[in-house]
C-alpha cells in the first residue's frame, strides 16, 4: 500500500502545516496558498525534526543594508540549525543542488472516490462528502 489518506483537506489551512505518521514515517504536510506539499520530517543536514520548524518568508537583498521579504509562507526553517528549505521543492536555499529534504507527492481526492478505492487507511475513516489529502510514499 503506497498511498495513504492522512487528513481532511480542511485540516491544513493555508500557511500552516501538520505532521502525520505514515507507515512509521513522520511526514509534514504544508498548505502553500492552497497547494499541498509533503516533506519528510527529517532534516537532510543532521536529522532534526524539520517539519516542526517555522514557516517563514524568504529574506532577499539588493545589497548591504537592504532587506526584502518574498515568497511568504513558502519556506521552512529547520528548528535545529535554522537552514532554510523551499517547501515547494524541498531544496535547501543555501545549497540547492546538494541538500534537499525528501519530498512526497500529496493530492486532494474526493471522499466519494476514496471510499471505493483500495487505499483508504485503516486508521482514518473517510466520508464521501469531504475531500482528503492522500500521500504517495513511492515505490
Amino acid at each position: 500500500m503506497t498511498r495513504q489518506v492522512v487528513a481532511r483537506a480542511g485540516d491544513v489551512a493555508p500557511g500552516t502545516s501538520r505532521v502525520v505518521n505514515v507507515a512509521g514515517r513522520e511526514i509534514g504536510i504544508f498548505n502553500v496558498s492552497g497547494e499541498y506539499f509533503a516533506l519528510a520530517n527529517r532534516c537532510p543536514h543532521a536529522g532534526g525534526p524539520l517539519c516542526q520548524g517555522r514557516i517563514v518568508p524568504l529574506v532577499q537583498s539588493e545589497g548591504p543594508g537592504h532587506y526584502r521579504l518574498a515568497r511568504h509562507q513558502e519556506f521552512l526553517r529547520c528548528p535545529w540549525h535554522g537552514w532554510e528549505f523551499d517547501i515547494r521543492t524541498g531544496q535547501s536555499w543555501c545549497d540547492p543542488r546538494s541538500t534537499r529534504a525528501r519530498q512526497f507527492a500529496v493530492t486532494v481526492e474526493p471522499g466519494a472516490q476514496l471510499v471505493k478505492g483500495p487505499y483508504v487507511a485503516e486508521t482514518f475513516a473517510v466520508s464521501v462528502e469531504e475531500d482528503y489529502l492522500v500521500i504517495d510514499l513511492g515505490g
Binding site: 545589497g63 535554522g82 537552514w83 536555499w93 543555501c94
Partner: protein, 356 residues
C-alpha cells in the same frame, strides 16, 4: 622606514613647524608591534651594523631583491604615524611617507612598488590621500593595520574601498596593532610573542567583518590582501563560516553564495610566515588541499622580519604545480597595476616585503 627628521622636507610649513618646535621630530615613530631589537623584527644577517632593523636601498637590493630573483616587490612601510590620534597630523605624516617612498625608493629602484599608507581613523582624509597618489601607478595597494579602532568591514570605512576599487588598488591589511583595543578578547597579554600570535585571530575577525558586512557585494571587483597574516588558519574559517552562514543567512541576506566561494574569489594572503611544522611537509601540503585553491597565496619574504633562514623562502610541501602561480601569476591577477608596467622574464618573482 623614514625617520621623522627625514620626512620634514615632505611636510608643509605648519607641520614642519609643529614637528620641530614640539620636538616631535625627535620621536622614533616605532610601532609597539615591532620592537626594533626583537628577533622577529630583523633577521640577524639583515640587521644593520648599528642594530637598526631596516636598511638602505642598497641593502634592500642586496638582501631582499637579488637573492630571490624578484622582478617586482611591494614595499609596505609600517610607521607609527598611523597610530597617532590626531587625524590631521596622522594624515600629514602619511602623505609625507608616501612622497618619501616615491622619491627615495620607487624613483631609484624600478623593481619596487608600494602601498599607500593612510590613517584609517578618518576615512575622508584617507580617501583624499588615495586620490592624491593614485596617479602614480607604482602605488598598487592601500595599507591598513590588522588591529585598529574598529573592524575594517564596517560601513564607515567604505569610502576607502570605493576609492580603491575605482582605481584598481588592492586593500592590504598588514599585521600590527594600534592597540586601541586589547589584542585579546580577554585582555592584554604579558608577552610580545602572545600579541604576535594573536594577530592571526585578528585577521580572521577582519576577514569575517568584510564578509558579514557585505563589502564584496558592495564592491564586486575589490581585492583584499592579508599581509604577514599566516594562512594555515584559513581552512577552518572557510568551513566554519560556510556552516554558520546557512543558519544566519536572513541576518545578512546580501551574502548570496557560500562565504568560502567569496573568499576564494576576493581574498589573497602572503606566504610568510608559514605557520606549519618544518619537519612535516605533509602538514602544509594537506592544509593547502583544505584551502582548495591555488590562487590565494602571494609570494613574500616579509623582509626584514625573520620568518625563514638563508634563501629557504619556499617551504617544503608546496606542490610544484602551485609554485608558478605563487611566484608570479597570483600577484599579477591581484594587482592589475603590476601588469601595466611589467616587463617580466621567466622564473621571476613578485613579492611583498615589510619595510620599517
Amino acid at each position: 622606514m623614514p625617520s621623522a627628521q627625514t620626512l620634514l622636507p615632505y611636510l608643509d610649513e605648519y607641520w614642519r613647524d609643529q614637528l620641530v618646535n614640539r620636538h616631535i621630530d625627535k620621536s622614533s615613530f616605532i610601532l609597539t608591534s615591532y620592537p626594533p631589537n626583537s628577533p622577529l623584527s630583523a633577521r640577524p644577517d639583515w640587521r644593520q651594523a648599528s642594530g637598526a632593523p631596516c636598511g638602505s636601498l642598497d641593502d634592500i637590493r642586496r638582501q631582499a631583491l637579488d637573492p630571490f630573483g624578484s622582478s617586482l616587490a611591494i614595499c609596505n612601510v609600517l610607521h607609527g604615524a598611523v597610530a597617532l590620534f590626531n587625524e590631521d597630523m596622522s594624515a600629514a605624516m602619511c602623505s609625507a611617507i608616501n612622497d618619501w617612498v616615491a622619491k627615495e625608493l620607487l624613483d631609484r629602484e624600478p623593481r619596487l612598488r608600494a602601498s599607500i599608507v593612510v590613517g584609517a581613523h578618518n576615512p575622508a582624509l584617507a580617501v583624499k590621500e588615495i586620490e592624491r597618489k593614485v596617479g602614480d601607478k607604482r602605488f598598487v595597494q592601500v595599507l591598513l593595520p590588522a588591529m585598529g579602532e574598529m573592524l575594517l568591514g564596517r560601513r564607515i570605512y567604505w569610502p576607502i574601498y570605493a576609492a580603491a576599487e575605482q582605481h584598481g588598488l588592492a586593500i592590504g591589511i598588514h599585521a600590527g596593532s594600534t592597540y586601541q583595543h586589547a589584542p585579546m578578547a580577554s585582555g592584554w597579554p604579558a608577552h610580545r610573542v602572545e600579541d604576535y600570535v594573536a594577530q592571526s585571530g585578528a585577521f580572521e575577525s577582519q576577514l569575517l567583518s568584510f564578509l558579514a558586512e557585505g563589502v564584496f557585494q558592495k564592491f564586486p571587483t575589490l581585492r583584499l590582501v592579508l599581509l604577514e597574516s599566516g594562512f594555515t588558519w584559513l581552512p577552518t574559517l572557510l568551513w566554519r563560516t560556510n556552516k554558520t552562514w546557512r543558519g544566519v543567512r536572513p541576518e545578512v541576506p546580501w551574502i548570496d553564495r557560500p562565504p568560502a566561494e567569496i573568499v576564494r574569489e576576493h581574498v589573497r594572503l602572503t606566504l610568510q610566515p608559514v605557520d606549519a611544522p618544518k619537519n612535516d611537509p605533509q602538514a602544509l601540503a594537506r592544509t593547502l588541499e583544505h584551502i582548495g585553491s591555488d590562487r590565494m597565496l602571494l609570494f613574500s619574504t616579509d623582509y626584514p622580519h625573520w620568518q625563514f633562514d638563508g634563501e629557504d623562502v619556499l617551504p617544503d610541501g608546496l606542490p610544484d604545480s602551485a609554485v608558478r602561480r605563487l611566484l608570479i601569476d597570483n600577484a599579477l591577477d591581484t594587482y592589475p597595476r603590476l601588469r601595466e608596467m611589467a616587463g617580466l622574464g621567466d622564473n621571476r618573482e613578485i613579492k611583498q616585503e615589510a619595510v620599517r
